[in-house]
């Protein structure tokens, strides 16, 4: 008897009793339902939204987008988009027969904000970067939120001052991610890198030779689920001399593996190269076409190693190098980042790839 009374009291609190009917609003499996009344077969002249709406937020906002239908004397609202964590939904039923609206609020699923992501690597990995360094790659262990770098990524000078505004080293508003949002590419201001441009003349390059800097990533940078990083990250580096000469494959040292082994073919570069481009712009080709294997980039991006899945056979192979491969300063084969037309830039390679032969014995 006591339980029946309690149920009745709850019903009165949540619903409206009309003609012995009790209207109740339920939230079930991502849908909102109004039960306890007999909805008309057809939508009212002003649409079902005039009777029942769900609001995801407060203030002057439109109702949640979705579709209505009637099933077994229940008006059902199915949102067009998935129910989201962290959102409070306010469902409002306005009885077509007049009287007070019935409201009920529901919370979306629990938002797990346990930190699980961290900065795994930053490339270039060296602690001396050329003053015309073009790009920086930050690898996270899990997908991140975009549009946050201005807030959580800082470059400090040697006094600890955050370089912002005209002194900012990165291009403002330029966040480039990979499709998984785990690798962020930041571009140093090319206007300050290119010789002859006003910014380069007046402010100087983003990284000054001989000066010390720190790249700081705040722990609060939210991952794709809104959780902060496990820990912040700091990389200290010093400005080095500019790299003006484009990569020249004639200066690369190729070490051939022995036939019959699974040893790596190794390429050593005189200066560090762009890490992501090294990963995909050198292929190994043999008599049977391209080889499959594992690539390792080492020694602060001055060494590339390829270990084939199958043993080397005695014979001739070649490294096929995309001429778009870049060093740290954006110079690519046969083409400096900024061409000085007063110098002789004669090495224009028109083919898209070059071959570096090697033999296994």
């Amino acid at each position: 008897m006591k339980r029946k009374f309690a149920c009745f009291a709850v019903t009165l609190f949540l619903g409206v009793t009309v003609s012995a009917q009790v209207v109740s609003i339920q939230f079930d499996a991502g849908t909102f339902k109004v039960a306890g009344w007999k909805p008309p077969a057809a939508a009212p002249s002003k649409g079902w939204g005039s009777v029942f709406s769900v609001y995801a937020g407060a203030g002057d906002i439109p109702p949640l987008a979705g579709a209505y239908n009637v099933e077994r004397d229940t008006l059902i609202f199915r949102p067009s988009y998935p129910i989201a964590p962290g959102v409070r939904y306010r469902a409002v039923f306005r009885p077509p027969w007049g009287g007070a609206a019935v409201e009920k609020t529901f919370d979306g699923p629990h938002q797990d904000k346990t930190p699980s992501a961290r900065v795994e690597h930053i490339y270039p990995s060296a602690d001396v970067l050329p003053s015309n360094q073009l790009r920086l790659y930050i690898y996270f262990s899990a997908p991140m939120s975009r549009g946050e770098s201005a807030r959580y990524l800082h470059v400090l000078d040697e006094t600890g001052k955050d370089l912002q505004g005209a002194q900012a080293v990165f291009l403002p508003g330029e966040e480039l991610w990979d499709p998984n949002y785990q690798r962020l590419t930041m571009t140093f201001d090319p206007g300050r890198i290119k010789r002859g441009l006003t910014s380069n003349e007046k402010i100087g390059p983003p990284i000054a030779e001989g000066k010390r800097y720190a790249l700081v990533i705040d722990r609060d940078w939210p991952d794709a689920h809104g959780a902060s990083l496990i820990e912040g990250f700091r990389k200290s580096f010093r400005g080095g001399p500019a790299v003006r000469n484009p990569p020249d494959p004639r200066e690369w040292r190729v070490t051939s593996p022995k036939a019959g082994t699974l040893n790596a073919v190794v390429v050593d570069f005189p200066t560090a190269m762009n890490y992501p481009l090294l990963q995909r712009m050198i292929q190994v080709s043999g008599a049977q076409g391209s080889l499959t294997g594992t690539t390792v980039i080492d020694r602060q991006e001055t060494q590339w190693r390829f270990t084939p899945h199958d043993s080397w056979k005695t014979g001739d192979y070649r490294l096929v190098v995309d001429t778009a491969i870049e060093d740290l300063a954006g110079n690519h084969i046969g083409q400096p980042f900024d061409i000085d037309t007063f110098e002789h830039v004669t090495e224009h390679i028109t083919t898209k790839t070059i071959s570096l032969p090697f033999s296994t014995r």
Partner: protein, 378 residues
């Protein structure tokens, strides 16, 4: 027999012809709508927008590496209304059921026929973000553009690498920064998250499976001595001395004019720098317009506010061929100090523009609300 449709009398057509190398142009159907099949629009992201003929909306899908043409069905001619929506991010968030911090507005364009406003939006900030196209009508009502069964077609911008046929997993991504439809062609500017150089593409529309468009390698002489291959951030077609040009604002700040006649397939094109818009800055959007008998271009920037470029007689400005003593040089402009925190700018009609404003989150300061606002072209 295929032929290139060159008609030199009209500037716009001339522009098309030179850009379009498009051998498919000759037999273009009367209405491009005829070629658009119905079905679910497969968008992996929604970024840069551009309107084509008959209410066709082009959507740049950087993650999917494609441009998608969608028939909006929005072809009822109307004059522009002055739309002002405070906290449009909060309203969009409520419409699609997320918190406002999970809404990112990627681009805005106005349907030139209906004057309805279209927004490309991300619902979420991570890789699972859902791409949305939203429409704002003259009354300020926001609705989502249904994509489940729409007339549409798409063209891929990238070939999946042979070693990794799943483009989704390929870390290399071409981000589409700006698009314009120029009389039969979608001109696409973009940049890559890996290599520096990035080409301008010209894609004939209606899209053909085999024709992904021509790529153009554009150089600009940065103050004469040094030349650079560089990504175009935003651009507009523009007529100078009766000749068609593209005015392109680069990632590295210069405003460069490129004669359309030089844009040939595979060509290495040299543009001429006619203005330096200043340091530490990215141009975002450009709106060319006429007022009181003069030509202007309104340029929104990341760090240097909104500029009103005086665009009369652009032919009279010599190439900037030496580093300037001042911070800026070339074609003069005024900075519109009354327009702050502009993230997007687009033309509404001959006398008005739309801006989306909002403070970017900074250390120790949260982002402010995002507003959609109509402004008179200054």
């Amino acid at each position: 027999m295929r032929r290139i449709a060159f008609v030199s009398t009209a500037v716009a057509v001339c522009l098309t012809a030179a850009l379009a190398f498009s051998v498919t142009a000759a037999r273009r159907p009367a209405s491009p709508l005829a070629d658009l099949p119905s079905g679910k629009v497969q968008l992996m992201s929604a970024g840069a927008l551009a309107f084509g003929p008959e209410g066709i909306l082009f959507v740049g899908d950087s993650v999917g590496g494609a441009v998608v043409a969608i028939d909006t069905g929005d072809r009822k001619a109307a004059s522009a209304a002055k739309i002002n929506i405070q906290g449009i991010d909060e309203k969009i968030a409520a419409l699609v059921g997320v918190t406002p911090d999970q809404i990112l507005i990627n681009d805005v364009k106005v349907n030139p026929i209906s004057k309805n406003v279209y927004l490309s939006v991300s619902r979420g900030r991570g890789p699972e973000a859902m791409p949305l196209i939203l429409r704002v009508d003259a009354a300020g009502k926001i609705t989502t553009l249904p994509l489940d069964n729409a007339k549409h077609s798409s063209v891929s911008l990238v070939d999946a690498p042979k070693s990794n046929p799943s483009a989704r997993q390929d870390p290399r991504m071409q981000t589409i920064t700006n698009m314009n439809y120029v009389n039969g062609n979608v001109i696409v500017a973009g940049l890559s998250n890996e290599e520096w150089s990035s080409a301008l593409r010209s894609i004939p529309f209606p899209f053909k499976e085999a024709a992904k468009g021509a790529t153009l390698q554009i150089w600009h002489s940065s103050h004469g001595r040094f030349e650079t291959e560089s990504p175009v951030r935003t651009f507009v077609p523009y007529t100078i001395s009766g000749q068609p040009y593209i005015l392109a604002a680069y990632t590295c700040t210069p405003l460069v004019k490129i004669p359309v006649s030089q844009l040939q397939p595979g060509a290495q094109v040299k543009g001429v720098e006619i203005a330096d818009l200043g340091a530490g800055n990215q141009p975002l959007d450009m709106v060319p317009y006429k007022k009181d008998g003069h030509n202007y271009i309104l340029i929104a920037n990341t760090a240097r506010g909104v500029m009103k470029l005086k665009a009369d007689n652009l032919e009279s400005y010599p190439a900037i061929d030496s580093p300037t003593k001042t911070d800026v040089a070339g074609v003069p402009y005024d900075t519109m100090t009354n327009l702050q925190n502009v993230q997007h700018l687009t033309q509404l009609d001959d006398s008005d523009a739309l801006i989306i404003t909002g403070k970017t989150a900074q250390p120790a300061a949260p982002a402010g609300p995002i507003n959609l606002q109509t402004i008179a072209l200054p």
